[in-house]
Amino acid sequence: MQEEPFDFGQEAADFAARQAGMGAVVTFSGIVRDLEGGGLQAMEIEHYPGMTEKAIAQIAEQAAARWHTGDILVIHRHGALAPGEMIMMVATAAPHRADAFQAAEFLMDFLKSRAPFWKKEVTRDSTGWVAAKDADEDALARW
């Protein structure tokens, strides 16, 4: 968890360099999406200090128990972010790509609706909390 930006390329390269014996690294990054037609001034990300770290660690432990993985990296920012800024990234390593891909998808599905984060969109005229989507909850069922 951090408020400041991170260097996705550097984080991915450093992560990959640590994975002795692994043949695959999968990375995902989430960025702040502007509203259709523009106008988003900021995306404010609130979290629950303490529980956030625990929830992410539990999700990563579940992924590591389920697939044959090397390390798992999760970086997630909080605070006010501008459109185009990176919100978060995950990286997974595995001997073969199928495990790395699946573990990364699992992590993302669970981080989306089981880690205590809330997003608020700020435009010049209004602010509004982003509502959770049914599809995000449904996505958990496939695991």
Binding site: S113, A115, W118, A131, E137
Partner: protein, 81 residues
């Protein structure tokens, strides 16, 4: 017991936290006590289906017992990632 609020629950209540003494047996009982405090609490807790709860930083449910709980948090469904 510390009771924490996040996102629009925090905004509706107007503060991030309460420290309360309670004999509530379950989360639902605690919600009833909070609703009775003031209108802003009643407004925040008007629709429990729109809320999630964590007990001592683990996701839980409204029928869960509160015995021994030190921290209870209320918040809307999460939107991470």
């Amino acid at each position: 017991m510390d009771v924490l609020y996040f996102a629009w629950v925090r905004e509706r209540i107007g503060q991030p936290k309460d420290r309360i003494e309670t004999q509530a047996a379950t989360v639902r009982d605690l919600v009833e006590e909070l609703r009775a405090r003031e209108d802003r609490y009643a407004a925040a807790f008007s629709d429990l289906s729109a809320l999630r709860v964590a007990i001592d930083q683990e996701l839980s449910d409204f029928d869960a017992p509160l015995s021994g709980a030190r921290e209870v948090a209320f918040f809307p469904p999460m939107t991470g990632g």
